[in-house]
């Protein structure tokens, strides 16, 4: 198990608490009343049929969508309604359904942008002495090379991100998200469109990260991956949370089976 600092050991078990979340847009009630928790050190799954509101929940937490009602408590702070860059500053990093990399930047540059915001990024530093930022820049570069090595992708370090395949872009997006050592990682269908072998490899990485103490909330359709990675799992349907629990518990929950796991919903 991980060695936790005393402070972390005393931190409340619930990192993210979502309460009564609702979102109306264009006459559609995408999310009606979502309430669930994400506990520290877990990969919490978020599953459900198409249109259940899962991506909207991610968008609401990350600030990309405007909420109608509800509250999102993260690590002691209320974050609902803040803008995306403000939410990110709390230590939440998200990935997107379609791999959202910076095409005109190299893979390394992508990773460097992923680091926690720092003073050397201000325009003032750009106009001042290079010494003002080159030290930290060198550290960040070393950190980026580390991440690349861990994923075995040093070969593409200096390739433009737009020249990469879909699976490689997903990896770049993931590596970039890790650069800031986020407290919570929001993953919006990280395996979509990825080959099965690559999906398993990504799954292994995610488990390593969890074992090292990172917390994740992951939207995913592929139920075998969810079973392998996620505990607990939150099931949504028609904009509300149906149930929360381990996959085994959910599989014996009739309502969940009817809505999603049994006939009809899911793949």
């Amino acid at each position: 198990m991980t060695a936790q600092s005393p402070a972390a050991a005393q931190a409340p078990a619930t990192l993210l608490h979502v309460e009564g979340l609702a979102c109306h847009f264009g006459g559609v009630l995408a999310v009606q009343d979502a309430t669930f928790d994400v506990r520290r050190g877990t990969i919490t799954g978020l599953i459900g049929p198409n249109g259940a509101g899962k991506s909207t929940v991610i968008n609401l937490i990350s600030g990309a969508a405007r909420p109608t009602r509800g509250s999102v408590h993260f690590d002691g702070a209320e974050i609902l309604g803040q803008r995306p860059h403000e939410v990110a500053r709390h230590g939440i990093v998200r990935t997107f359904q379609q791999a959202n990399v910076f095409g005109g930047l190299t893979v390394l540059e992508n990773l460097l942008v992923g680091a926690t915001p720092w003073r050397g990024e201000q325009i003032g530093a750009a106009l001042g002495r290079k010494r003002g930022w080159s030290g930290r820049e060198t550290e960040l570069e070393a950190g980026a090379w580390d991440v690349l090595r861990r994923f075995g992708l040093e070969a593409i370090a200096n390739d433009y991100a737009r020249a990469l395949s879909g699976g490689q872009r997903r990896l770049v997006e993931l590596m970039r998200a890790l650069m800031a050592r986020p407290k919570l990682l929001l993953l919006d269908e990280p395996m979509a469109g990825v080959s099965p072998s690559l999906a398993l490899s990504i799954a292994d990485r995610l488990m390593e990260l969890r074992d090292a103490g990172m917390t994740m909330l992951m939207v995913e359709h592929e139920l075998r991956l969810v079973e392998r990675l996620c505990d607990p799992v939150v099931v949504m349907a028609r904009g509300t949370v149906l149930a929360e629990g381990s996959m085994a518990q959910l599989q014996s929950n009739q309502e969940v089976v009817d809505a999603y796991l049994g006939g009809g919903g899911g793949y």
Binding site: R94, V101, F102, A126, A142, R176
Partner: protein
């Protein structure tokens, strides 16, 4: 070389320098950050008017044949500093109005309309900057103090322009190779990803709009102090496309490309055609210049949209070696080594 030719060339060099500053300023906004600023000439114009209104005496002192605001009769270098300042400040209202999350071509149209509104107001409100007639007899820096020939003054002005170019080069280069510059390029590609990583894309775009605006203002101030007259006819909306064409032809996202563009487009096309034997009626060549510019733009957009000197890849080596950089030396070295 006849003294007439030397005098002409010195003037040409001054104009090259002024255009360099303007083009580097636009490169920051458009080349690095991807802002489709079709109102760019308004920033240059604002700087020009600022320099004029700071340097001129109050209208009454000239017998009120012109009407305008201000007239503070400030000595060099204050009008130029004021020009850069005003150019930068103008970025704030323009940025707040036009930098919404609009589709790229829509946003370009919004900026274009702002440019037209600015021209319209300058012409309609004669009390501001003397309406369509414009301002004349603008005092030149240090003119009264130095007693030199016109050629001598040109050399001095060229020195001043060169100094301003160095400043512009230092600003543009500093931004381009910094983490801030990297963030700008990231915003150009995906502002949602930038926000998801904790940076505010609106703030980033606003700061670069200000920086580019200040350079545009500086170039406007220099132009006005060189030409000593300034009116709406000097900054009609097509002038913005002159700068855009320079970047598309020369290459955006790098200083060398901007410099090449400055040499080929504003200086090259316009100054060279000025010396063709005059044919047709006076002014025909000016119209044809614009047709040529449009043609160049179309041809390059088709064959070489990234320009003659495209943006260079920033290659980073493990172990923290210096990045390959984007300066002229690196460009030439890269060309020789045949890197991608």
């Amino acid at each position: 070389m006849s003294s007439g030719l030397i005098y002409y060339l010195s003037g040409l060099a001054i104009l090259l320098g002024i255009n360099l500053i303007a083009i580097w300023g636009l490169d920051l906004q458009f080349g690095l950050a991807g802002i489709n600023n079709f109102a760019y000439v308004v920033f240059q114009a604002a700087g020009g008017y600022a320099a004029a209104l700071f340097a001129l005496k109050p209208a009454k002192a000239y017998g009120s044949f012109e009407t305008y605001l201000g007239g503070f009769n400030l000595p060099f270098p204050l009008p130029l500093l004021g020009a850069a300042l005003v150019g930068g400040l103008l970025a704030v209202p323009i940025g707040l109005i036009a930098m919404r999350r609009l589709r790229a071509d829509y946003q370009a149209m919004a900026m274009l309309v702002l440019s037209l509104i600015a021209t319209g107001l300058a012409q309609a409100q004669t009390g501001l900057v003397n309406g369509p007639t414009g301002l004349a007899l603008i005092p030149q820096p240090l003119a009264g103090l130095l007693h030199v020939s016109p050629l001598g003054y040109n050399w001095i002005f060229l020195g001043l322009t060169a100094a301003c170019c160095v400043i512009a080069w230092w600003v543009a280069r500093g931004i381009s190779r910094s983490p801030y510059g990297r963030l700008l390029r990231a915003v150009r590609d995906s502002e949602s990803a930038v926000a998801a990583l904790g940076r505010n894309p609106d703030a980033l775009r606003m700061t670069v709009l200000i920086a580019g605006g200040a350079l545009a203002g500086l170039s406007g101030g220099l132009l006005v102090e060189y030409v000593t007259a300034w009116g709406p006819a000097s900054w009609l909306y097509p002038e913005t496309f002159l700068f855009f064409t320079a970047l598309i032809v020369g290459g955006k996202g790098n200083l060398a490309g901007g410099a090449l563009g400055a040499l080929l487009v504003p200086i090259g096309i316009i100054e060279v055609t000025r010396h063709l034997p005059a044919f047709g009626y006076p002014g025909l060549i000016d119209s044809l210049d614009w047709v040529v510019i449009g043609a160049f733009l179309l041809v390059f957009l088709w064959f070489r949209p990234n320009g003659l000197l495209p943006e260079r890849k920033r290659v980073l080596r493990p172990g923290g070696a210096e990045p390959a950089g984007t300066g002229l030396r690196a460009v030439l070295a890269g060309r020789r080594a045949g890197s991608s």
